[in-house]
C-alpha cells in the first residue's frame, strides 16, 4: 500500500504541474479539439483522484497491508470500538488531508453548480420580461444596440441575441452564430466547463487550474466553431466574429459608434476621428460580411495605413500576433490531426483515469 501511495503521489504531482503546462502549450489541440477536451477532463479527474488517493493510502499504510481492511479498522476506531496504536500524528494528518481535500472538491463542485443554476434561473426570469416574444423557438431577442449572442443552458435551452446583432449581421452570418450557440447547448459545454470552473474555485492557488480553465474554455469555442462550419462558410463565421468581438470589448466603442449600430454615421465609418479609442478607430472594411444596413465604404475610404499593414500581414499570416488560437485556426486552418494521433490522445485520457483507479484497487487487494 505504501508503494501505491508513492505511485499515486507521483501521478498527482505530474498531473498538477508539468502535464497541464505542456498540454496548454501544445499546438495540436487546435487540430483535434475533441480528443484534447477528453484529455483535459481525464487530467482533472485523475489529478483529483490520485491526490486524494495518495494521502489516503499513505495514511492507512501502518494499519494493514490492504487498503480495504485498513479502512475497516479506521472506521472501527472512529466509532470508538478500537484503539489504533500504529497511527501517529503524521499519518492522522495525511488521512485528515485526504478527507478535507475530497470534501472540499466535492463541496466546491456542488456549490459552483448550484450558484450557476441560480444565476441562470434569475437571468432566465428577467429575460422572460425583457425579450421579444416574436423570436423563434429556442431564441430570445433583447433590445440592445451592442451586437451580442450567448446561450443559456439548462431547462429549456435558450440562445439569446441582441437586436443590435440582428441589425449588424446578414442572414448567413447569423446562421453561423446560431449554429455555434446551439452546438454549445447540444454538446453540453456548460458541464464540460463546470468541472474546471469549480476545480479552479477549489484550488485557486494552483496556477494550472487557471491554465486548464482557459484551455477548456478555448476548446469549447473551437468545438462550437467546428459545428458552425458544418452549416456555414469560414467567411461568414469570421465576419460575425469580427463584428461581435469588436463590439464586445468593454473598453471598446460605445454603442453609438459601433459599426452597424443605429447612429453610426456611415460617412465616418472609414475615417478614424480623434475622439475614438483604439478599437473604434479601426477602419471598417468594405466587406460583404459587414452590416447590410451600413453602406459599404469603398476601400479607398479606409485608412490606407491600416490597409497597407493588412496587406503585408496576410501572406505570412498575422496569426503569430493573435493571442487567440481560436481565431488563428479559423484564419489559417491546419489539417485535422490524423486518426492515430486522435486515438492516442483519447486512449491517454482513458488511461489517465484508469491508472489511479488501478493503483487504488491494487492497494485495496494488497497487491502493491
Amino acid at each position: 500500500m505504501l508503494l501505491a501511495s508513492y505511485l499515486l503521489a507521483a501521478l498527482a504531482v505530474l498531473l498538477a504541474w508539468p502535464v497541464p503546462v505542456l498540454l496548454a502549450r501544445a499546438a495540436w489541440p487546435s487540430r483535434a479539439p475533441a480528443p484534447a477536451m477528453l484529455l483535459w477532463q481525464g487530467i482533472g479527474l485523475a489529478g483529483g483522484l490520485s491526490m486524494i488517493g495518495a494521502f489516503l493510502c499513505w495514511g492507512l499504510a501502518p494499519l494493514d497491508r490492504g487498503l480495504l481492511p485498513a479502512a475497516g479498522l479506521l472506521v472501527h476506531a472512529i466509532l470508538g470500538r478500537l484503539e489504533l496504536p500504529g497511527l501517529d500524528v503524521v499519518h492522522l494528518f495525511a488521512l485528515s488531508l485526504a478527507a478535507l481535500l475530497g470534501g472540499h472538491l466535492l463541496l466546491t463542485l456542488a456549490r459552483s453548480a448550484w450558484r450557476l443554476a441560480r444565476d441562470r434561473q434569475r437571468h432566465r426570469e428577467m429575460l422572460a420580461f425583457l425579450s421579444k416574444p416574436e423570436a423563434g423557438p429556442g431564441t430570445a431577442v433583447i433590445d440592445h444596440d451592442t451586437p451580442l449572442a450567448y446561450c443559456l443552458p439548462g431547462a429549456g435551452n435558450l440562445t439569446v441575441l441582441s437586436s443590435g446583432l440582428l441589425r449588424s449581421l446578414d442572414e448567413r452570418e447569423l446562421r453561423a452564430v446560431l449554429a455555434h450557440e446551439s452546438a454549445h447547448l447540444d454538446q453540453r459545454h456548460d458541464l464540460l466547463l463546470l468541472a474546471f470552473t469549480s476545480w479552479h474555485a477549489a484550488l485557486p492557488w494552483l496556477p494550472t487550474t487557471r491554465l486548464a480553465l482557459q484551455a477548456v474554455g478555448e476548446l469549447v469555442e473551437e468545438l462550437a466553431d467546428d459545428a458552425a462550419l458544418r452549416v456555414s462558410t469560414r467567411e461568414d463565421l469570421l465576419g460575425a466574429l469580427a463584428v461581435v468581438a469588436l463590439a464586445g470589448q468593454s473598453e471598446g466603442p460605445r454603442p453609438g459608434t459601433l459599426p452597424g449600430a443605429p447612429g453610426a454615421g456611415a460617412p465616418d465609418a472609414g475615417a478614424p476621428s480623434a475622439g475614438h479609442d483604439d478599437a473604434a478607430a479601426v477602419p471598417v472594411p468594405s466587406s460583404p460580411s459587414l452590416p447590410p444596413g451600413l453602406p459599404a465604404a469603398p476601400p479607398a475610404a479606409a485608412s490606407s495605413e491600416a490597409l497597407a499593414a493588412a496587406r503585408w500581414a496576410v501572406p505570412g499570416g498575422p496569426h503569430e500576433a493573435l493571442s487567440s488560437r481560436r481565431l488563428g485556426r479559423l484564419l489559417s486552418p491546419d489539417a485535422p490531426l490524423g486518426p492515430w494521433a486522435r486515438r492516442l490522445a483519447g486512449t491517454s485520457a482513458v488511461a489517465l483515469v484508469v491508472l489511479p483507479t488501478l493503483f487504488l484497487a491494487a492497494a485495496g487487494w494488497d497487491v502493491l
Binding site: D119, L148, Y150, A245, G248, A279, S287
Partner: protein, 130 residues
C-alpha cells in the same frame, strides 16, 4: 402557471409604458382594454403585482390608499443588467454565460478586421488584375 407568467409580463409592460404609478384597479382597467385580458378580477391583478413585487420588479407605495405600484427600474435599466450579466462584468459571474466571441481581446478583434479588409481588397482586385 404559464398564463400567470404571461399576465405578469403584460402587467410589467403596462407599468413600464406608463409614466406614473398605478393602482391595481387602474392596471385592471388598462388590461381590460386589450383583447385577451377582459374580465380580469382585481384580486388576480393583486396576486400578479405581489409576485412581481417579490421578484423585485415592482415596488408599492404604502402611503396612499389604494396602494400605488410602480416599476423599480425602467425596462432599459433592466436590459443593461442583463447585458452586464452576459458580458461578465462582475468577476464572479464570468462563467455564468458563454458568449459568442467572449474571449477575444481588443487587439485580436482589430487584427481580425484588418485581415478581413485585406482579403476583401485582394478578392476585389484580383478579377480586375486578371
Amino acid at each position: 402557471m404559464a398564463a400567470l407568467g404571461e399576465l405578469e409580463r403584460s402587467v410589467m409592460d403596462l407599468l413600464w409604458d406608463h409614466q406614473e404609478a398605478l393602482t391595481a384597479n387602474a392596471v385592471r382597467d388598462l388590461l381590460a382594454q386589450t383583447e385577451d385580458s377582459k374580465g380580469l378580477a382585481v384580486t388576480t391583478v393583486l396576486t400578479v403585482l405581489a409576485r412581481l413585487e417579490k421578484k423585485g420588479l415592482v415596488s408599492r407605495e404604502r402611503g396612499t390608499r389604494p396602494h400605488l405600484y410602480h416599476p423599480t427600474a425602467s425596462r432599459e435599466e433592466h436590459t443593461v443588467g442583463l447585458i452586464e450579466d452576459a458580458l461578465g462584468t462582475a468577476a464572479d459571474r464570468e462563467a455564468v454565460l458563454v458568449r459568442f466571441a467572449g474571449a477575444i481581446s481588443a487587439g485580436d478583434a482589430a487584427a481580425l478586421l484588418r485581415v478581413l479588409a485585406a482579403r476583401e481588397e485582394r478578392d476585389t482586385s484580383l478579377p480586375a488584375g486578371a
